[in-house]
Subunit: 120 residues, 2 copies
């Protein structure tokens, strides 16, 4: 399955989700799929959070708390869940506040290997 197919399938499985994306630590999306209309800028959100994730990663190394695995950020009307896939990539769902966070977490975990494989 291509990367785009995998991402599309993931988004279809999560009702209401705004976007799913695979990103590099340079904050450039390798690929991303959107659906619905969020009342905020999903793309800017992902790129800006990318910078923050690099910071968190550096912090975790300093503290010695083991490799970074997952970050969730909840605001008044959105959730973003980010899963580290490798030293180069992370995958993320952008969701409305009431979406199923547990399922997003599961999908990111379950598809981690497939996503990394698809990037090649």
């Amino acid at each position: 399955m291509s990367l785009r197919e995998t991402l599309t399938q993931m988004l279809e499985q999560l009702e209401g989700a705004y976007a799913v994306m695979l990103m590099g630590y340079d904050c450039i999306a390798i690929d991303e799929i959107h659906q619905g209309v969020a009342d905020f800028d999903v793309q800017t959100m992902a790129v800006e959070y990318g910078t923050v994730i690099k910071e968190i990663r550096r912090t975790i190394e300093v503290v010695g708390a083991g490799a970074m695995e997952e970050i969730t950020i909840t605001t008044a009307n959105s959730r973003m869940i980010i899963r580290v896939l490798s030293d180069e990539f992370f995958a993320a769902f952008v969701l409305p506040k009431n979406a199923n966070l547990g399922k997003a977490r599961y999908l990111l975990r379950a598809k981690a290997f497939e996503l990394v494989e698809a990037v090649g």
Copy 2:
């Protein structure tokens, strides 16, 4: 109830938790209670994450995704859950990976008002 009493009660209610703390956005702990021994530096972790939280907050404002509410950061052997209490303070639990994250989330939410009141 004093701030210290509230924090102590929160930590006692969450088996295995390493620490609970109330911090300002200047990354200085107003008060914090520890128990057990983590294999990483809990205090440094909290302070370093504080810097990151400021960054995330700024990002959320830029994107227009509503006020920041909660952040969880999961590493190979730890979890930190952070809840914004006001413009000045946030509260956080530092947990081992297998601790009850849902209960930590609940306690931070349930005690939010009490914590803010206690800081006065």
